[in-house]
């Protein structure tokens, strides 16, 4: 009995202990939930709209993959943090993805037309803001030629790897346009919102959404010249990709593969003072678009042959003289200065694997100069080597092979040894002749 009672007491304690454990677990779960809820509150506080269309209920899931019509595995997952930190982070999804009406939606309906008027109403005109002017300028540029993909660029993989002309998205991608590393740049811009914009535009909604959005639109102006160059170099420094580009020949109007000058444009720019200054963070150097698209929305890059191009021979002086760079470039006596070669292919290795071997490179005056100078270097080099091993060095002071005599005559003021010898030998010949003459006469 006592044993069983004892056991029951033990069992009771065990059960008690079990309850305690369960209670502890409950408390733990409660605490975990509380921490999670608290944490998620902190995370959610970074969200800039409440996701009114409920898109994130699916798209925030990880591993939301599908196979597209090209048979490529695509990810439809959206990294919330990434999205909220992007330019359009304050814009609800359906503001742009307007074709999506039902759920689930067709893949094709995802496309967005950036040229459409958008949700931000410009206060001065009362009209919705539109990208169409930028798009118009861009479409007439060299990058917009033969463009048939629409603004969103269609297949992202195809766009990144194959296309010669980039879409809007290719340059204005989140990574480059608003990288997370760039975010601190904005933080300072937001600081004055309350005091300045906030004096008229009151209310959390404006400040949280539109104020931030408008400020973010000016990110381009906060880009420094190196940021611009990085954007251009994303394609133009890729030699293989540039070798694929076909350009229209100005004379024959036929499409031809780009030459070494085009393929190596990024490298030759890097050797110029413009490139070198920017490389060392001296912002007075000119970036790619400072010369190639200095006006308008800075999207209208044109080929040099185009008379509207900022780099056309007739417009170069104006381009160089802009924004306090080379103000004197418009002076008529400097008409050759503006033709200084900024993409000088002679600064790039004459033989390399990244560019086709173009025979025109051999016509360079530098190559001609080299052909003239090289034999002299070789002769002097061989002569020096021979002299080092076999030369007669026991003759006192050694004078140079070229110009040594002139040095002795002009600088030291004495006749060179060779001339003295010659002189004496000539004298002796004359004396001999005189002696012979005398002998004959006798």
């Amino acid at each position: 009995m006592a044993g069983s009672l004892h056991r029951s007491v033990e069992e009771g304690e065990a059960v008690k202990a079990g309850y305690c454990l369960k209670r502890l677990q409950l408390i733990e779960i409660f605490l975990m939930t509380a921490i999670y809820v608290g944490f998620s509150q902190i995370v959610n506080s970074a969200e800039r709209h409440p996701d009114p269309d409920g898109c994130f209920s699916c798209h925030a899931l990880e591993g939301l993959d599908y196979i597209d019509k090209h048979g490529v595995l695509r990810s439809a997952s959206i990294d919330k943090k990434h999205y909220y930190s992007s330019l359009h982070g304050s814009v609800p999804c359906k503001d742009c993805h307007r074709k999506i009406r039902n759920y689930p939606h067709a893949v094709e309906n995802v496309e967005v037309n950036c040229a459409e008027s958008c949700h931000v109403e410009e206060p001065s005109e009362g009209e919705p803001y539109s990208h169409k002017y930028v798009v118009k300028e861009y479409e007439s540029s060299v990058h917009g030629e033969g463009w048939s993909k629409g603004l969103t660029g269609g297949n992202r993989l195809k766009e990144a790897n194959q296309a010669a002309d980039p879409s809007c998205r290719y340059c204005h991608s989140n990574e480059l346009y608003i990288g997370e590393a760039e975010l601190p740049k904005f933080k300072a811009s937001f600081d004055h919102l309350d005091s300045e914009c906030g004096s008229c535009h009151q209310g959390e909604v404006w400040l949280g959404q539109f104020g931030g959005h408008i400020l973010r639109r000016f990110i381009g102006s906060r880009w420094d010249k190196n940021d611009h160059n990085r954007m251009c170099n994303k394609c133009h420094a890729d030699h293989q990709r540039m070798a694929e580009v076909e350009l229209e020949n100005a004379e024959t109007r036929e499409k031809e593969k780009a030459g070494p000058r085009f393929i190596l444009a990024s490298d030759s720019y890097a050797t110029t003072l413009h490139g070198r200054l920017l490389e060392t963070e001296v912002m007075q150097g000119a970036s790619c678009i400072d010369c190639h698209a200095p006006t308008g929305f800075r999207h209208g890059v044109l080929r040099d042959e185009n008379s509207k191009a900022s780099t056309h021979a007739d417009n170069l002086a104006e381009t160089c003289a802009q924004s306090g760079c080379h103000g004197y470039a418009t002076h008529p006596l400097n008409h050759r200065f503006v033709k200084t070669d900024i993409h000088d292919i002679d600064m790039i290795p004459a033989v390399n694997d990244i560019a086709p071997r173009d025979p025109s490179r051999l016509e360079s005056s530098w190559i001609k100069a080299l052909i003239a100078l090289l034999p002299i270097v070789v002769v002097l080099g061989i002569g020096s080597l021979l002299w080092h091993f076999r030369g007669n060095k026991k003759r006192g002071v050694t004078y140079a092979v070229f110009g040594g005599d002139a040095f002795q005559e002009k600088m030291i003021g004495r006749k060179p040894k060779a001339k003295i010898k010659k002189h004496t030998s000539q004298n002796s010949v004359v004396e001999k002749q005189a002696a012979d003459n005398e002998a004959h006469e006798n």
Binding site: T272, L273, T280, H331, M347, V377, L380, G381, S384, G403
Partner: protein, 314 residues
């Protein structure tokens, strides 16, 4: 052993000078890049450049000049330091520090003068200032980039290439780089004493030479000066002068202050103490008098060969 004997035969002053040049090659060039590294520059170009900000263009405004000086702000500072030093002490930068001029000199001095080109007898002053005016006014106007013929690009790139920097190798293999390399051989390694580029083409040297000449007239400045009474006309100074600034005129050494770099070699080789790097004593009157008789004349240290000297007056 021969090598050691040859090194021992170098005058002490010159040994120090060579050591300084080697040290500045280490400080200025790859792989260490100590000094350009202080201002985050990978070479001697861009903000460190001391050769571009004074280029002249027709129609240039003071604002343009100011902006050019702002771009090369460190270069402006360096050049002013060089010129101030030159005014008081002679061309210390060119002779003792400049790694771009010093490196070819050191290489050239390591082998015999026999198979070299002697540029020292050329009329170097007209050539230098002729090229200088072309460099400063004509080349920019014609759109010839001043950088393409600059040895401040070439020599650092060679060091880059030797330290395994692909950028350096890429330049050395380009058409411009190869021509510059050939010029480095012809005007440096294969030039007697290796200073032909400094003598004939260097724009910094040209400005520095003008300042040197300007200060030489003054008695308190340190220059290479000749005591004409002591000169025996042995011409060893003229033969050893690396810039060809000493010419024997009437069997007396005469220094061309537009070209002299105050390298001191002439002083080291002169057995008679007839040439020295010094200021001229300010008092012209002889002091060494005994009982009113001038028994030993006060030395007259001449820096400039004046018209009066040419006429035979001393």
């Amino acid at each position: 052993m021969k090598m050691i004997a040859r090194i021992k035969a170098i005058p002490n002053g010159q040994k120090y000078r060579y050591t300084l040049i080697m040290a500045s090659c280490t400080l200025f060039f790859s792989p260490f890049l100590f000094l350009p590294g202080l201002v985050d520059n990978p070479d001697l170009c861009g903000k460190v450049c001391i050769r571009r900000f004074y280029l002249f263009f027709p129609g240039i405004t003071p604002a343009d000049v100011a902006s050019k000086m702002q771009v090369a702000s460190i270069g402006v500072y360096i050049l002013s330091m060089i010129l101030i030093t030159t005014f008081f002490f002679g061309r210390m930068w060119c002779g003792y520090i400049c790694p771009v001029g010093g490196f070819p000199e050191l290489i050239s001095r390591t082998f015999s003068d026999r198979w070299k080109i002697e540029y020292r007898a050329l009329p170097q002053v007209p050539i230098r200032y002729g090229y200088f005016s072309v460099y400063i006014a004509l080349m920019p106007m014609l759109g010839i980039s001043a950088c393409t013929l600059c040895n401040f690009i070439t020599i650092p790139r060679i060091f880059d290439a030797l330290s395994g920097n692909p950028k350096g190798l890429a330049f050395a293999l380009s058409a411009v780089g190869l021509v510059n390399l050939a010029l480095l051989f012809l005007l440096g390694f294969f030039a007697t004493k290796g200073r032909a580029y400094c003598q004939l083409l260097c724009p910094i040297g040209a400005i520095d030479g003008l300042v040197n000449r300007l200060g030489a007239k003054l008695r308190f400045t340190r220059r290479i000066r000749v005591e004409r009474n002591r000169c025996t006309g042995c011409n060893i100074c003229a033969r050893s002068c690396m810039t060809g600034s000493i010419q024997m005129v009437g069997r007396v050494a005469v220094v061309d202050q537009l070209s002299c770099m105050s390298c001191h070699e002439c002083v080291d080789v002169c057995d008679w103490g007839a040439i020295d790097w010094r200021s001229a004593p300010l008092d012209k009157d002889p002091k060494r008098k005994k009982k009113g008789i001038d028994f030993y004349p006060q030395p007259q240290w001449q820096a400039v060969y004046t018209a009066a000297l040419r006429k035979g007056k001393r």
